[in-house]
């Protein structure tokens, strides 16, 4: 039930209107970071204060909420945000991507393709893709205004000069609708192709940095690359050891101090769904130690 000590979805109406106006401007200018008057939330910066504020502005009582942290539904961050909105907005919750109407995510896009009508809200630590190349906000703002993104290509080129390939593996910069370079939040670059032409609305909230930006449905999002060093959505060259999937993003788990390791799907709902349908990986067994 809704906790009546708070307004619906925690934030007051004036704050939600302010956030809603910022979201609409973000939708109208895809990839542009709209400044907003971020509020203090009852959780520390870095735990998704931006995503939570965007979510509070979007939630309706009929929603079914899913929250993931690095793909997992059962980690501290995901559980606490899910409980927060179950309590303050009275919304139903789920762990299944297909059943959710709104999904808040920290650093992953679910493996199961999203549908029209769903909203994916990203938690963003540093929204400015040029920030580590140019620390001054006045300068990065001017660079976005002038579409001056040469510095980003220099950074990617230096990757190639040093490592022989583009070594950036997460928060890989993208260009939205051939205009704004955008930080897709620290998702693995494996997820970058899912940003483009996605039927769901994608909203990005950065609480500490006070920015909101958006990618509307069916919007072109291109990962930056070079003609002779094209973008490659990389993942660990293994199959999931639990469900056997060969096309999902994998986490490496150290299992002992003898060099033993296993690879498992980062998306727990996807992995459990496959196992429920009878698909098995190398190490999937009723007694995990018996399999080794």
């Amino acid at each position: 039930m809704t906790d009546q000590a708070y307004n619906f979805a925690y934030l007051d109406e004036q704050t939600k209107r302010m956030i809603r106006r910022a979201i609409l401007k973000g939708i109208a200018v895809p990839g542009y970071q709209v400044p907003f008057a971020s509020r203090e939330m009852p959780m520390p910066y870095g735990w998704g204060t931006g995503g939570v504020q965007v979510m509070a502005a979007c939630l309706v009582p009929e929603d079914r909420l899913k929250v993931i942290d690095q793909g997992a539904d059962d980690t501290t961050n995901a559980v606490s945000i899910r409980k927060f909105f179950a309590r303050t907005a009275g919304v139903a919750v789920t762990e299944h991507t297909t059943e959710a109407t709104v999904i808040q995510t920290r650093h992953r896009i679910p493996e199961t393709p999203l549908k029209p009508g769903q909203i994916l809200v990203y938690q963003v630590p540093i929204p400015e893709p040029l920030r580590f190349l140019e620390p001054r906000e006045t300068e990065t703002r001017k660079m976005h205004e002038l579409e001056e993104y040469g510095l980003m290509h220099v950074k990617l080129y230096e990757d190639i000069a040093r490592h022989g390939q583009i070594a950036t593996s997460y928060a890989y910069p993208v260009k939205v609708e051939s205009r704004y370079v955008m930080d897709p939040s620290p998702i693995p670059k494996f997820d970058n192709p899912k940003l483009s032409g996605n039927p769901a609305i994608q909203l990005f909230g950065a609480g500490r940095e006070q920015r909101i930006y958006a990618v509307p449905p069916w919007t072109e999002v291109v990962s930056l690359d070079f003609d002779d060093h094209s973008f490659h959505a990389s993942k660990a060259p293994h199959d999931c050891d639990l469900c056997g999937s060969s096309h999902s993003y994998l986490d490496e788990v150290i299992t002992d101090d003898q060099g033993g390791r296993m690879f498992v799907c980062s998306d727990t709902d996807f992995c459990e769904g496959r196992r429920a349908r009878g698909m098995k990986g190398r190490l999937w067994a009723p007694e995990p130690e018996a399999a080794e």
Partner: protein
């Protein structure tokens, strides 16, 4: 709510603002994110001749921090009183408005409205355009939020093509008719067919 009152300006607002504005915003968001889709909203009953949909959009997005321009025939004492009581938005001329409300012909010339600054394109006006009806027949729309193409009965195409040509600057438009709304952000490309 149902009891007759001395002053109609006190009537017609949201009866359960947090939940009604949340539902209304989701419809406005979907309308803006998917240009050309026509959605139905409810919850407001503004004084005539303002539509339910325009009233819902005002209640959902406007407050004391958003200068509002009432254009032409819509600018009547009854509406001014309603806005003052329910929304509290300062009423201003077209040049300073964050939101502008009126029929398309009353909003002319639309070049008066704020289109944002090159470094802050978000500082632009949102036009709420009252229409007689909304249908998916008319100029074709393409761009972000549209899978292939869609159609909407826009009042004209030239102004929206000029608006798109200034991208990322430009105003954004919400069309309202009865209890229907449709969105047309500046990112949408418009072609007369």
């Amino acid at each position: 709510m149902n009891a007759p009152r001395q002053n109609d300006a006190l009537e017609g607002g949201f009866t359960e603002a947090p939940v009604q504005s949340a539902r209304a915003f989701r419809d406005v968001l979907e309308a803006m994110a998917r240009p050309g889709t026509i959605r139905r909203v409810s919850g407001a009953l503004p004084p005539a001749p303002l539509s339910v949909a325009a009233g819902v959009v005002l209640l959902t997005l406007c407050d004391g921090t958003t200068p509002l321009h009432l254009a032409g025939s819509i600018d009547r004492p009854a509406l001014r009183d309603w806005v003052a009581f329910h929304i509290g938005a300062p009423l201003v001329g077209a040049e300073g408005a964050a939101f502008a409300l009126g029929r398309w012909e009353d909003l002319q010339p639309v070049s008066r409205f704020r289109i944002g600054q090159p470094d802050y394109p978000d500082r632009s006006a949102t036009l709420i355009v009252e229409c007689d009806r909304l249908t998916n027949h008319g100029p074709s729309l393409t761009g972000p939020g549209i899978e292939t193409a869609t159609w909407l009965n826009l009042p004209e195409t030239a102004a929206f093509r000029a608006n798109r040509a200034r991208f990322p600057l430009g105003f954004d438009t919400i069309f309202t008719a009865g209890d229907r709304i449709a969105g047309l952000p500046r990112s949408t490309r418009v072609e007369a067919i």
